[in-house]
Amino acid sequence: MAELRGSHGEANGNVLTRHFGTRDLHKIDVYESKGGYTALRKALLEMEPAAITNEVKTSGLRGRGGAGFATGVKWSFIKRDTPEPKYVVINADESEPGTAKDRYILENSPHMVLEGIMIAAYAVGANQAWIYIRGEYDEPYRMLMEAIGEARDKGYLGPKPMGKDFPLDIRVYRGHGAYICGEETALLESLEGKRAQPRSRPPFPAVKGAWGRPTLLNNVETLATVPAIINMGGAEYAKLGTEKSPGTRLLTVSGNVKRPGVYEVELGATFRQVIFDLAGGPPDGRKVKVFWPGGSSAPVLPESMLDTTTDMEALAAAKSMGGSGGVIVMDDSHCVVRAAYRLLQFYAHESCGKCTPCRIGGDWAVRMYERVLANDGSQVELDNLRRVSDALQNGRCLCGLGDSAGWVIDSTFRHFYSEYEDHALRHECNAGKVMTSA
């Protein structure tokens, strides 16, 4: 494995990453020597399924994939005692720009993910789990397959895990390159062998999910946190972080910082702490100009808002969001308009084409940006961008991709409108590059 860049070891209240960096942690024996699978044993042998779900509710854990929905509440939506098959589907299709934390977890401790999955499956009464992993993740895939093999050999997966009469199986399905599969209903479509286009909700996956069955969908990091919650107790976990955003989460810090990495932070830490203390701040002689606090879909925040805290409430108040925890930092040598253009290219490219505002709007925005950046712009282009941005947002599309594209325009307008005016009205750029995609 490559050099570990990010949190590992016992320091700083690391909950997930405490044992990361331990040699061969991906092997089941080493994982167990560090206390691995004790939570599963406890859950299967000492706890009622409803008590497990309650423990997760008590912990206040919120989904780490992007939407931040209360995990325990989501689990309780699945009616456990119905005879029909149920599934747990794990979203390992990490593809939000600037986010690498699920890969970090899978490469360091695949068994921690498996343990979380098994606990969740038992809690909601699913005998079968499917991990949907993005196709480009070759190494995490190999490690997962190896870990699943080990867990089967040990009997943790199989007809009677830990002696409990509750058959458990985990299988892996590889994605094939589509950002939209990170959206839960698009992921389900893909798992069913279709083009990944989001479904209309309701029905929600908890009622009608994979192959028409009740399905619990959780992100890798969310489930990887579950063993710790079972071990330490929900109430103890809830003491970490803030009241409404308890716990720790992994933030991927990338871009113009000295020490990019995947850092575990207690929610409530400020972005200044994350970007400067953990990631080393921007290169010498440079200043932070703008940062994306939760992946490219999270509305940008300017340097002046570095003291915003990482909990979801503070980010919502700052008109942004925690999203996937991808903190992209851009310094003052780069141009915000070009960066926004690059992201709009991304959203236009990744639109699945189902909803008209997103299918058309992304391309419109890209064309406006191209004119502006070719010094061919005017107030007309800026007004059009504003109009497209509005049309993409506020529930006009089935999923969040359209909103995300709109937020890029909207938030860069909000904080950096003068740079747009420089480009469109005065045909000049006050800073550097960030060019188009190749």
Partner: protein
């Protein structure tokens, strides 16, 4: 779509004249639906097998996948063209999937793309190098942002890329030393797509 019918190259190995995919691949594909709650889920794993044999997906191959799975050929093509990891054109033996999203671009990804183009002698994404070995594609975030700029090449991630590292990766592949060649990719430089399925990896594809 006007794809050259290079699948004739497959015949010498497959021994199935007039077919794009060899019998053993078709047989493997027919087994896939049983692994899922509903058979349709097999379509992408099946396309994987087809692409592994041919290097990319030809219309004939997609039709044969459809026949093996009792699906409509148009449906299969519709799925294949939706996902960026299915290729409708030859991609050469080694494709650089260079991340060009924001985190990598902020650390020099565009300069790297220019360098790769020059180094393999092509002017646009998807174009094959003269020796047929290389091509490149600028892709969206590959989820390894702490190692930016990075790329995926030959089912591996390559981190902290520089022009020198790119040159070394290319050189290793142009003149592979014996111990660097994989068991199924050891034949010298050629435009031929990889034909042998990587059986061990795929066998476990459904866990």
């Amino acid at each position: 779509m006007n794809t050259p019918r290079t699948q004739s190259q497959g015949r010498e190995f497959a021994g199935t004249p007039g077919r794009a995919l060899s019998q053993h691949v078709i047989a493997e594909i027919r087994e896939l639906p049983g692994r899922f709650p509903q058979p349709r889920s097999a379509v992408m794993p099946a396309l994987d097998l087809a692409q592994e044999e041919l290097g990319y997906l030809t219309p004939d191959a997609m039709t044969e996948v459809a026949e093996a799975l009792n699906l409509d050929a148009g449906y299969v093509e519709g799925v294949a063209t939706f996902y960026s990891l299915f290729h409708m054109q030859p991609i050469g033996k080694h494709r650089f999937y260079l991340c060009t999203n924001l985190s990598c671009t902020l650390r020099g990804a565009n300069e790297l793309v220019d360098h790769v183009k020059k180094a393999i002698g092509v002017s646009e994404p998807g174009e094959l190098s003269k020796d047929g070995l290389f091509s490149y594609e600028g892709v969206e975030c590959l989820g390894a942002c702490e190692y930016a700029p990075m790329a995926r090449l030959d089912h591996r991630y390559h981190y902290d890329l520089t022009a020198e590292k790119v040159d070394a990766l290319i050189e290793e592949r142009r003149s592979p030393r014996p111990h660097l060649t994989s068991p199924h990719g050891g034949e010298g430089p050629a435009a031929r797509p990889a034909r042998k399925p990587r059986a061990p990896r795929k066998k476990k594809a459904d866990g």
